[in-house]
């Protein structure tokens, strides 16, 4: 079982994802430079957070042009598990692997804080061990995490069970106050129709060890391990 952690110019949560995979979840992980155009030999792909290309122009816009993104598309097309975290999510949106777009936070400020997430589906490779209805305490850290999609897209996301996480209160209510950035319908994470590609703004890799204040993020990586194991990886 081997996971790829993509590294673009400006990625900066790459080491954190690597650490969580390797030293917490016990997965063999390897960095993959964005100029590589093959993902042969990998069973899962993590597009980590950061400020690829300084977030210049739009977040994720310049990174989507990297050669490795062609390989990610093929990998995802074949049903391989792909998770984009924070800037990774933004890149997946820009690359068209997930629907919608990100705009600047309603507060116009960068926000780094713990938030609560309501999990809505365990159909993705990264949430198999998170029963729907679970509440997770996970940090966010972004300036542009305000998820936008037109009404039709939002409707279809909900209809097809593609909303994976929503911002909620500690007791699980989906309220405006619990929304740290103004995201449409409190959306914090979505998956593609097939379910194998997940994008989420919060950082599970930052809360995978109890000493850091929460262990809830670990379930994302543990789910991935189970999913891969079940498939003989």
């Amino acid at each position: 079982m081997k996971a790829a952690v993509l590294v673009f110019p400006g990625s900066n949560c790459d080491h954190d994802a690597y650490h969580a995979l390797k030293y917490v979840a016990g997965v063999d992980a390897e960095f993959v430079w964005h100029k590589q155009s093959s993902l042969a030999g990998f069973d899962a792909v993590v597009v980590p957070g950061g400020f690829t290309y300084g977030d210049y122009l739009r977040t994720g816009a310049l990174a989507k042009l990297s050669p490795v993104m062609g390989a990610v598309k093929r990998f995802a097309g074949e049903g391989g598990p792909v998770i984009g975290i924070c800037n990774g999510f933004q890149i997946l949106l820009e690359a068209g692997l997930l629907p919608g777009a990100m705009i600047v936070n309603g507060s116009l400020h960068f926000v780094c804080d713990y938030v609560y997430l309501a999990a809505e589906t365990s159909r993705t490779p990264f949430t198999g061990r998170i029963p729907p209805g679970s509440i997770l305490k996970v940090p966010v850290a972004h300036y542009q995490g305000n998820y936008f999609a037109d009404e039709k897209t939002l409707f279809s996301l909900e209809e097809r069970g593609q909303v994976v996480f929503r911002y909620c209160t500690p007791d699980g209510r989906i309220t405006e106050d619990a929304n740290p950035n103004g995201s449409a319908r409190n959306i914090a994470g979505i998956c593609n129709e097939a379910g194998n590609v997940l994008g989420m703004m919060p950082h599970p890799e930052r809360c995978a060890e109890a000493v850091l204040g929460s262990e809830d993020g670990r379930q994302v990586f543990d789910s991935m391990v189970s999913w891969l194991k079940e498939r003989g990886k």
Partner: protein, 80 residues
């Protein structure tokens, strides 16, 4: 040869920056403003070439990179 590209948020897409600027203007006592929308503005210097050729290239640049058509519209102006 110079070109200008204007990228604006589509109607219906929330513009938190525009909203904040509007509020600040009012706060500063600069009245009479009903709405503010914020966009991007790019000035490009191009190698001399035909206008049509240039426009074609910039159209492509906008579609593939400079604008995100999920949320943004763009407009190209070629000068000189």
């Amino acid at each position: 040869m110079k070109a200008k590209i204007f990228v604006t948020l589509k109607k219906g897409v929330l513009d938190p920056q525009g909203k904040a600027i509007h509020a600040s203007l009012t706060h500063l006592g600069i009245g009479g403003v009903e709405d503010v929308r914020v966009g991007k503005f790019m000035e490009l210097t191009l190698k001399e070439t035909g206008r049509d050729e240039a426009r074609m290239r910039l159209e492509e640049a906008c579609r593939r990179l400079l604008a995100n058509t999920v949320i943004e519209d763009y407009r190209i102006e070629i000068e000189g």
